[in-house]
């Protein structure tokens, strides 16, 4: 799992590459929690190169969503592959996360 982060304005962009499973999700959890501790509350996660997500991966995103919600922040997801999107739909996570087709669309939604 490759995780890259960079910040533009008020929004922190994370891009995930590879498999987010019980082995790799602790890495994302560490990174995400550290960023939140450093007062980053609005995230766009680019999933264009995310190939697989397990329930352990969903849990990490949920941890993050709860943390930023307390600070009026949001985690939005963009560019999900079809089968990843299905996982979100089956788990009902679309009630917690906004999904966008592009990072630009996700970014624009923060402005409004």
């Amino acid at each position: 799992m490759e995780i890259n982060a960079n910040k533009r304005g008020e929004i922190t962009f994370l891009s995930l590459k590879g498999k987010l499973d019980s082995v790799t999700s602790p890495n994302l959890e560490d990174k995400l929690l550290r960023l939140i501790d450093d007062d980053n509350y609005n995230f766009i996660i680019d999933c264009a190169e995310l190939d697989y997500i397990s329930s352990a991966g969903l849990r990490v995103l949920l941890v993050g969503a709860k943390k930023v919600k307390a600070k009026d922040g949001k985690i939005k997801l963009a560019n999900l592959k079809r089968h990843i999107k299905e996982v979100f739909e089956i788990a009902g996570f679309t009630a917690i996360f906004e999904l966008y087709d592009t990072t630009e669309a996700a970014e624009a939604s923060f402005g409004s």
Binding site: D21, S22, Y52, S54, S55, A56, L58, R59, L62, V63, K66, I90, A91, G92, F93, A95, I96
Partner: protein
Amino acid sequence: MPEKIMVVDDEPDLESLIKQKFRRQIRAGEYDFVFARNGLEALAKLLEHPDISLVLSDINMPEMDGLTLLSKINELKKPTIKTVMVSAYGDMDNIRTAMNRGAFDFLTKPVDFNDMEMTINKTIEQLSILKQALKEHDLLLSIQHDLSVARNIQLAILPKTFPPFPDIKEFDIYASMNAAKEVGGDFYDFFMIDKDRLGFVIGDVSGKGVPAAIFMAVSRTLIRATALKGIGAGECMSYVNNLLCNESVSSMFVTVFYAILNIRTGVVEYSNAGHNPPYLMRTNGEISEIEKTGGIVLGALEDYEFKSNSVKLEPGESIFMFTDGVTEAFNAADDLYSEERLVELLKQLCGKDLKDVVDAVNKDVEFYSTGVPQSDDITILSIKYRNPE
């Protein structure tokens, strides 16, 4: 705690000399000395003081010499006792024999007390590293034990007797769970709510290990207790969800499919809380996903309103429920088993006995992932509606 050191020597003056030289360490509670005059006495003292960790022994002594004592100490198989031999300067033969028999170090006579102190300290340091390692080893063993306890919790609460209700002819039910090496959090359960209604549930807790096993046990108990009130499937999920949201440490959650079969009519009322949609197996070989109810995993979002849906089973038709351990089993090429492969297999299994269906799927998953360690629990629950006649 002072380090207990035994000095074995037939020279009577040595005792007072050592007590004098090391008086500061003795007073400070760093060292505690025990003395023996020969090997035999030393062995008796070792039994009397099981906390002796360092033995300084002369070689030439009456009754039992130092080399024999060394062999006897080795036979005790206590890695936390180290022996340092004391020998005449130049007595290389005995020193080599002692080292080959497992002595930790040696000192030469006449004893240089500075050198003796350095040797004692170095040995004690080595011992403390060893003791730390042993402690960590014990801790690991106890964690392993905890994990097997968690595994046993998981297995013990799953119903395993089939058929579970031999007197009821209106349905068949069969289930299996192949547990992954690391404790996961899959479960299934079924129970008669009243004489006409069978409740059945399959679930998968996020994460692994002891927390997952505990969360799974809590989830299963709450679902059963709530379901037995006889309320609707969606209402049951809404109620349990709020309870689990309060229990959920570190954002654990559980995916659940809960359903109620009316054994008089074949109507199944169900609610899906984020679980993989089960399959409906028609008698004509048609396999279809059970329509979603749009629910979210339990324990994630408070006050969520879960909806119910229903489907009518004709005699001979069945519902096949599973956890993602089935469809997300990897093969050697890192590809997933997939829903598609499962559906193709189920098509050929329509109308077969439930046990044969479940066994066939387990076998195919096992075949698919040959050579790849199982990373998740593989759990299947299936029920078939039957004509009671």
